[in-house]
Amino acid sequence: MQVSEYKPRIVAFCCNWCSYAGADLAGNNRLNYPAEVKIIRVPCSCRVNPSFVLRAFQRGADGVIICGCHPGDCHYTSGNYYTRRRMAMLFSMLEYLGIEKERTRVEWVSAAEGAKFAATMNDFVETVAALGENKRLEDLRCKR
């Protein structure tokens, strides 16, 4: 297999109460996940407006993942239930427009799941790396 220099850029929106803490735990336990994963902390997964996802792609992300508390565990009771519907519809729409569906993902990661966080990120980075650069939803003006 050809070894390439290409490293995908990943934006991970993580809710403050579960997934961000999960990422912290992964760090504390010295679990490795690629540095290309850029975490953006949000108060709740439900805070992620669809335009944030588009913006991330515009600014050069090759993949966008949204992490929140497990359904039923949202600290605002129902935020992630709305996230689940909203992102299902948004990602389906992107797929309809021909954007590879592997570039988008929603994952539920609790504060105790440091290992799951690291594993999820490793897997996501690998999946996106296989797809290559995000060409279909890129903004040339934002390219360096």
């Binding site: 335009s51 588009l54 129902s78 709305y82 689940r84 299902a88 021909g98």
Partner: protein, 301 residues
């Protein structure tokens, strides 16, 4: 089908105006040629008698005009109403606007009129009429003629055809369509679901404001946001596709969302029932996970 003459409608409206029950009539006004009919507000009977028309060129959905019209002090002052003529599909938009508290129901007198399908200036029927979803007026104060039925239309066929394409073909298809957009914002302006006081597309700080598109990303951004913003609220009235000067099939974006929501969260028709809760502002604990919902039934190559 029922043929309704302009005369019948003028008589209804003139009577209401004369009695003082309504202070204005929102209808269609004839233009220089028979095809350039425009929405108009009539306040006197003479104008109404001379200029009001109801023909095959009255495709314009009048419901959105009510948002601003009913706010005007002249209608509010003495508790009089504005009379509006709505075709069956327009009544769904009206209901949706009521659901969103954009119109005061008690300031409007709705006259539902039957429709045989509308045509453009070349005489071709509009897409929204070919794939008409309902001849049933869902809200009215007065009904002209007989009410029709909800139609089992083939409106999702085209969406299914696109879903069956490979990702690459889909991308090429949409690139071809969306790259024609000149960002005139007509699709937003006409949409009865687009009634925000302030719109992200008018905000210069958003980077999405009305301007010529300089990058292929921008057109996709605009169209995704437009379609997504009306997801669950779009009544599939078809006005966006009708007014697009570039003939972009915007209904194919809206219908994809409608179809997905129907499949994932149960059948829902925006505007069919006043006060109903749209799927995206609702949830169930057992909802399908995004990973399963995306690309269901479609081609993922």
């Amino acid at each position: 089908m029922q043929a309704i003459s302009s005369r019948t409608l003028v008589d209804i409206a003139a009577k209401k105006l004369a009695s003082g029950e309504v202070s204005a009539v929102l209808g269609w006004k004839k233009g220089l040629f028979n095809y350039d009919v425009t929405p108009a507000v009539f306040t006197d009977e003479k104008d109404l008698a001379e200029n009001f028309v109801y023909t095959d060129f009255c495709a314009a959905n009048l419901s959105k005009y009510l948002v601003n019209e009913t706010k005007k002090p002249e209608y509010r002052a003495d508790n009089r109403k504005i009379l509006v003529f709505l075709k069956p599909c327009d009544t769904y938009s009206f209901n949706q606007l009521l659901t969103e508290h954009r119109i005061h129901r008690n300031r409007v007198y709705v006259v539902a009129v039957p429709c045989n399908g509308m045509i453009d200036l070349t005489g071709a029927p509009y897409e929204k009429c070919v794939n008409c979803k309902s001849k049933k007026a869902v809200v009215y104060d007065e009904l002209v003629g007989e009410n029709g039925e909800v139609i089992d239309s083939n409106r999702f066929d085209e969406v299914e055809r696109i879903e069956a394409m490979s990702a690459e073909e889909r991308f090429a298809f949409w690139q071809n369509e969306l790259s024609r957009c000149i960002r005139c914002n007509a699709c937003r302006n006409v949409c009865p679901a687009c009634t925000c006081e302030k719109c992200v597309f008018d905000n210069p700080a958003s980077g999405l404001e009305n301007k010529a598109i300089s990058d292929s990303f921008e057109e996709k951004m605009f169209h995704i946001i437009r379609a997504f913003h009306v997801a669950g609220r779009c009544t599939d009235c078809g006005e966006c596709s009708r007014v697009c000067p570039q003939h972009i099939p915007l209904h194919l974006l809206n219908r994809k969302l409608i179809k997905d929501m129907n499949e994932a969260y149960g059948e829902y028709q925006a505007g069919a029932v006043e006060g109903s809760r749209a799927p995206l502002v609702n949830y169930s604990e057992n909802d399908i996970e995004p990973a399963e919902a995306v690309g269901k039934g479609g081609n993922n190559a």
